[in-house]
């Protein structure tokens, strides 16, 4: 199968996002301080935002890495495999983790309120997609073993 421009675009975009995530590590305290200044919040809120953002970087990078590996297997034309179902699983779990953490912290600062719902929604979409994908893997294996 030919590697489409869309797949290559996704691959490069994910690479850029991984780089941005790593670089953003250095700017997290600045972002938190800027928010607390603009929203005229206390210094404690700035500290909470800093800590939460650092925690959120872990699932974010795990999601991006899983996406990268998933796209790599599409490039290798090795799509309907159990390994890819596991990658989708990782992405789903990470999105839910981000959504839940943001949801909890949203009670302390509204900064995370608008992040939580979209992430939980994306996690749900991915969960549905993962289930469809796992059915597709089963059908593919049955098809391969039909002589």
């Amino acid at each position: 199968m030919k590697v489409t421009k869309s797949v290559m675009f996704c691959l490069w975009t994910v690479r850029i996002f991984i780089a941005v995530s790593v670089v953003s590590l250095f700017f997290i305290p600045g972002i938190a301080e800027y928010y607390s200044m603009v929203a005229s919040q206390s210094k404690d809120i700035s500290l909470i935002i800093t800590v939460v953002l650092y925690v959120l970087v872990i699932p974010a990078i795990a999601t991006l890495s899983a996406m990268y590996l998933l796209l790599k297997s599409i490039v290798r034309n090795d799509i309907f495999t159990l390994k890819n179902v596991r990658y989708l699983n990782v992405i789903t779990v990470c999105l839910f983790i981000i959504g839940i953490i943001c949801g909890i912290v949203a009670f302390m600062t509204s900064f995370f309120a608008f992040i939580s719902i979209p992430f939980l929604f994306m996690g749900l979409v991915l969960l549905v997609l993962r289930n469809v994908f796992s059915q597709a893997v089963e059908i593919k294996s049955e098809n391969d073993l039909t002589v």
Partner: protein
């Protein structure tokens, strides 16, 4: 699976090699191996037809049901 495909038995009866059979019926040796080892989940009627034609036998000679 409870259905066993006795290709090996028929091959030895007809004194034919697996490679020869796969070439005769137009399937890859890998697919023939899937059939022989019982890994196959389904068998197309067209493949069964070709197998019977190549081995000069009836489907019942190739397929057997074994109670697990």
């Amino acid at each position: 699976m409870a259905i066993v495909i006795n290709i090996d038995v028929m091959l030895s009866k007809r004194k034919m090699s697996s490679l020869e059979l796969s070439q005769k019926i137009g399937i890859t040796p890998a697919n023939l191996s899937i059939l022989k080892t019982g890994k196959a989940k389904a068998l197309k009627l067209s493949t069964l037809d070709k197998l019977c034609q190549a081995l000069h036998c009836q489907p019942a000679d190739l397929l057997e049901y074994r109670d697990d």
